[in-house]
Symmetry: C2
Subunit: 525 residues, 2 copies
Amino acid sequence: MRRGVAGAWRKLSEFAVSAWEFGRADRRKVVFGAKVGLALTIISLLVFVKGPFQDLNRYSVWAILTVVVVFEFSVGATLSKGFNRGLGTLFAGGLALGIAELSTLFGNGEEVIIIISIFLAGFFSSFLKLYPTMKMYEYGFRVFLITFCFILVSGYRTRQFIETAVNRFFLIVLGASISLAVNVCIYPIWAGEDLHNLVAKNFAGVAKSLEGCVSGYLQCVEYERVPSKILTYQASDDPLYSGYRAAVESTSQEESLMSFAIWEPPHGRYRMMNYPWKNYVKVSGALRHCAFMVMALHGCILAEIQAPPERRQVFSAELQRVGTEGAKVLRELGDRVKNTMKLSAGDILSEVHEAAEELQKKIDRRSYLLVNSECWEIGKRPVGMEDTLTSLNSMEEDGNYLPIKSRSEAVLDLRYVQVPRSWDVHDSSTGFSSSYIAEDSANNMLQKQITWPVRRSFNADAVTPNEESRTYESASALSLATFSSLLIEFVARLQNLVDSFVELSDAARFREPVDELAVDGHLLG
Amino acid sequence: MRRGVAGAWRKLSEFAVSAWEFGRADRRKVVFGAKVGLALTIISLLVFVKGPFQDLNRYSVWAILTVVVVFEFSVGATLSKGFNRGLGTLFAGGLALGIAELSTLFGNGEEVIIIISIFLAGFFSSFLKLYPTMKMYEYGFRVFLITFCFILVSGYRTRQFIETAVNRFFLIVLGASISLAVNVCIYPIWAGEDLHNLVAKNFAGVAKSLEGCVSGYLQCVEYERVPSKILTYQASDDPLYSGYRAAVESTSQEESLMSFAIWEPPHGRYRMMNYPWKNYVKVSGALRHCAFMVMALHGCILAEIQAPPERRQVFSAELQRVGTEGAKVLRELGDRVKNTMKLSAGDILSEVHEAAEELQKKIDRRSYLLVNSECWEIGKRPVGMEDTLTSLNSMEEDGNYLPIKSRSEAVLDLRYVQVPRSWDVHDSSTGFSSSYIAEDSANNMLQKQITWPVRRSFNADAVTPNEESRTYESASALSLATFSSLLIEFVARLQNLVDSFVELSDAARFREPVDELAVDGHLLG
C-alpha cells in the first residue's frame, strides 16, 4: 500500500519535472496557460461576483463556454474560431426566431414544426460540413446547430425566444471579446510567425541531411540493419533521416498555420495587408521537391548493394563539394527567409552549379568506373585500367585534365587479352567487394530487412557463384552512378527553389540586402 | 436587382446540384446527416416536449450540446470523444464540489478562493493539454475546464453545487448514450473500415504510378513544362503524380483513423479484441517507402536531362517487365489486404525478382550504353560499337548471350583510332540528341522551370559548344542508369513490404487463401 503510494508519488513528481522542462523549453506555452486563466478570471469577475451584468448571470455559462472554446494558442486561430462562432450564432439566432414565430401560428402543431426543423437543421448542417469547400467552417456549423436547438428548446419552455437569443449572443460576444483582448494584448503568439520559423527550420533540416548523406556516403557509412522505423516511414532520431523527414512531413502543419495566419492583422515584421502567407507554403513545397532528392540519396546509403569504397574515393572531392555547396545554398536561403531579406546581387547558385559541373566532367572522364566491362558483348575494356586507377586518383588532385596523355598510357591491344579478369580494384579471390558486403550483411540482418532479389533467384537457377558476384559488381558500381546523378538532379531542382524564394521575397517585400562589408565598416568606425 | 437575385439563385441551385452529387458519391455522408438529425430529435422529444425528464429541462441544453459535439462521423471518433467528455466532466465535478465545500469554510474569502481556483484550473489544463503525450486528451481538458468553471459559477449563484453537478453529468451521459446508440445501431460508419480501405487504395495508386512511370519513360513522355504544382508538391491531377502522392500524403489521415479505430468494438471482419490496426499503418509505411522510389522514378521523367530514346529502347523489354511485375505484386498485395486474405504458398516476389535480375544482367552486358566513352582518360572504347548497336538490339530478342562472339566482332585495335568520334547513335552534327532536347525545352519553358546548371556555367566559362554537348550526352546516358537502378531498388524494397504484410496478416488472422482451382472445380461440379 505504502509502496503503491510512493510509486505514484514518484511518477507524479517525474511528470512534474518533465512538465517543468517542457515549459522551460517553450515559454510561450506557459504564457498561454496563464492567459487562459486570466481570461476566465475576468469573465468570472464580470459576470458573477459583483459585476455590471448581474441580471445576465443566469446565462453566464455561455461566456465561460465561449472563452474555453475560442481561446486558442495563436491569435489567428482565436480570430478564426471567434468569427465562426459569431457567424454561426447569428445565423442560427435569426433562423430559430423565424421558425419560432412561424410555429406559434400553427397552434397545436407547434411541437411538430419544432421537431421537424431540429431534424432538418441537424441533417443539413452535418451533411454540409463534410462538403470539401465547407470544411473550414466546420466549427461554425456546429455552433449553428447548438444555438438553433438551444433557442428553440429553451424558448419553447420559457416563451422568451428573443430574450434567450439576444442574451446568448451578447454573452458570446462578451466572451469572445475578452478572449481576443487578452490573447492579442498580452504576449501575442502569432501563427504567421510560427509558419515563418517552420519554413526556415525546414531549410536547415534539409541542409543537414544533405551534408550528412554526402559525407556518410563517402565515409561508406552502412546501416548494420536499417531501423524499421525508416522502412515504415515513422519518426526516428536518425540524424540523416529526421532532417528531411521533418521537411516532408510538415505539409499539414503548414496548411493549418497558414489558414490561421491569414486571419491575423498586420503586425511586427508582417506590416502589410494580405501578407503573402501562401508563398511561404509554396517555398516550403519547392524545398520539399528538393528534399525528395535528398531522400533518394539517403536511399543509396540504405540500399544493400553498395559501391566499393575505392570507387567512391575517386569522386570524393567532387561529390563532397557539391554536397557542401548545396547545403550552403539551402542555409543561405533559410537565413534569408528567417531574416526576411532579399537575395544579394549575383547568382546564389553559381558555386553549386560549378561544383555540379565539375562532378559531371569528372564522371565523364571516369564513367568506366561506373560500369562493369566484364560482360560486354561488344568487347572488353583495355587491361591495365585497374593498375592506373589508384595512380590516376592521386594524379587527379591537381585538377588537370590530360586526355591525350592518359589515353596513351592505357591503350593496349585487346587482342592479347586471354583470361577474363575481374575489373575491380580488389583481389576478387578474397571476395572483398560489394558482393562480399551484401552476403555479409544478409547474414547479420533481421528478417525485416531488404534482401537483394537477384541473389535468391540466382540460387534457384544454380548459376556459378562467379557470375553471381559479377552481377553484384556491376550493380554496385551503378549505385555510385545513381548517387551522383541524383545529386546533380538535386542541384537542378535548386533553381525552382530559388525562383519560389524570389517570388516570396518580392510579394512579401523583404528588405534589400545590406552590403555586409559596409555594415562591418560602420561597426568598426 | 432582379439580375442579382437571378445570379444568386443560379449559384444556389448550382451548389445544390453539386451537393446532391456529393451525397450520391458517398451515401454515408447523407446517412450521417440523417443520424445527427435523428439523435437531436430524440433528445428534444425526451427532454422538452412531453418526456419523462420534464424537471430536467432547465438543463436540457447540456444534452443537446453533448449530442452536437460528440456525434462524429465514425463510431470510433464518437466513442473517443464521449469518453473524453465523460472523464473530463467527472474529474471536474469532483474537484469543483471539493473546492466549493472548501470555499464555504472561508466565509468572506469564498469569492477569492473561487477566483483563484478558476485561474489555476485554466492555467494547468491549458498548459498540460499542449504536453505531447496529453494531446489525445485535448478535448477532455476542455470539457474539464468548462464543467469546472460552470459548476463553481453557477453553484455560487444558486447555492446548489451538487444538484448542478449531478444534473449536468446526467444530461451529458444521456446525450452521449443517445448519440452512441444512434451512431452504432443505425448504419454504423467504422473508422477501422476506412483505414482498411485507405491502405488498400494506396496500393492501387502506387501500382498505377509505377506502371505509368515505366511506360511513360519508355515512350519518352516529356513535360512541356513541369506543372508548378508538382514542383511545389501540391495536389495535382497528373495521373503519374497523384497515385504516389496520395500514398505519401496519407500519413496524418491514417494516424487519426487509427486513433479512432482502436476505440471501436470488434465488428464485421474485425472480430477480435485488440485488432492490430497499428499494423495497417505499418504496412502503409512500408508501401510509402516503396512509393518514394516511384517518386524518384517520376523525378527521372521530370528531369531536364533525358536519356536518348534509342538507348531506352535497348532496355525497353526488361524495364517494362520489371514495371509490370512490380505493379502486379503491389496490386496482388492490395487485393489481399482488401479481402483480408493471407498470401498463397510460394514466393509472390519470384517473378519480379526474376525480371529485375534480367534487367540487371542486361545492364551488365550493355553498360557501355550508360556511359560516354568520349572523354575517358585511360582510352577510347572500341570503335564499331555504334554500328553494332542496332543490330545487337534485334539480336538480343532471342535472349542468347554470346560474349565470345560479340567480343570478337568488336575488338579493334584502339591505336588506329584517329578522330574522336561521338559515340551516339545519332548524327552528332544534326544535334538531335539529348543536348538538343535540353536546349529546346529551355526555350519553351517558363521561368518557373528547372534550368540545367551546367549549361549556364559553361557559357560563362566560354568553352566550346562541342564540349558542352558532350557533357550533356554523358549526363543523359547516366539518366538511364539512374532510372534502372532506382527501379531495381524499388524491387529490393518490396521484400520489406511483403514482410510487413505477412506480419499484418498473421496478427490480424487473415483468412487462409482459397485454392483458386479448387474453387473453380467446386463451382463447376
